[in-house]
């Protein structure tokens, strides 16, 4: 028997957690208007918020939520990009415990699983990029 977590809670907690891992590097949701001035920064996007639904008439008869958020790392120097990805891997991959701000809407994750997807370079922005996916197992 589980209830669905409000996605805005995920958004708060992802922002809090990432900002704490890479501080003082700025973290933004989706887009950074100051990309031309900041030598390194992160953006994130949330997707696949989904609890498997089991058969039955009870709406709360669902499994655990496994939301995924993509982390996009941008940096002018390629080495900074890889070092930021390392900070995230070391801190988040395999993490279990409080996710987000415990004083407000932080919640418990049974497991965080980080997948380093690929690195790239955006010629228009002039920034190196690394894309990572982090899957959370959220027992509600």
């Amino acid at each position: 028997m589980t209830t669905q977590q409000n996605p805005v809670v995920y958004a708060h907690c992802i922002q809090y957690q990432l900002a704490n891992i890479v501080t003082p590097v700025p973290v933004y949701a989706s887009f950074n208007r100051l990309y031309a001035e900041q030598p390194e920064f992160l953006t994130w996007q949330l997707r696949n918020v989904h609890q498997p639904v089991y058969t039955g008439q009870t709406q709360s008869n669902k499994g655990i939520d496994r939301p995924i958020f993509q982390i996009s790392i941008f940096a002018q120097e390629m080495g900074d990009c890889f070092n930021l990805s390392n900070s995230i891997l070391q801190s988040l991959h395999g993490y279990s415990g409080m996710f987000g701000n415990p004083a407000t809407d932080g919640f418990f994750v049974a497991k965080a699983d980080v997948m380093f997807q690929y690195n790239s370079y955006d010629n228009e922005l002039g920034l190196h990029q690394i894309f990572m996916d982090c899957t959370l197992d959220v027992p509600v």
Binding site: V8, A11, H12, I14, Q15, Y16, A19, P26, V27, Y28, A29, S30, F31, N32, R33, L34, E37, T43, W44
Partner: protein, 114 residues
């Protein structure tokens, strides 16, 4: 010879931040007030397929001071309040004798459907 319009302006600091959801935020804090020569007040209208966009441009000229030099160096960190509106700086012209600085400021009115 034209008439010089000295008008009251407030120079603001523009601070960018992030809220708890990771959204980009802009905060404007008044820094100091000054009198500037205002000229070439120009409002323009651009009509696209769906919207009318009003863009206002104005030239304001200040005496060259350390504060104004800071604006010249980092124009994105400052805005100017004039006639009750918030104006952002697009172009900066420093006179060669370093006596004056002219800022070209712009402001967008909200988009209006055609």
């Amino acid at each position: 010879m034209g008439i010089a319009r000295y008008e009251n302006t407030t120079i603001n600091a523009v601070t960018n931040g992030v809220d708890t959801l990771g959204q980009y935020t802009t905060t404007i804090t008044p820094l100091f007030i000054s009198r500037a020569v205002v000229k070439d007040v120009r409002n323009s209208l651009r009509i696209t397929e769906k919207y009318r966009i009003y863009q206002d441009l104005v030239n304001v000229t200040f005496n060259y001071t350390p504060n104004i030099k800071a604006i010249v160096d980092h124009q994105q960190d400052y805005s100017i309040t004039w006639r009750g509106f918030d104006w952002r700086i697009t172009d900066v012209f420093e006179s060669d004798d370093r006596m004056r600085v002219t800022l070209v400021c712009y402001r967008n009115d909200p988009n209006t459907p055609v």
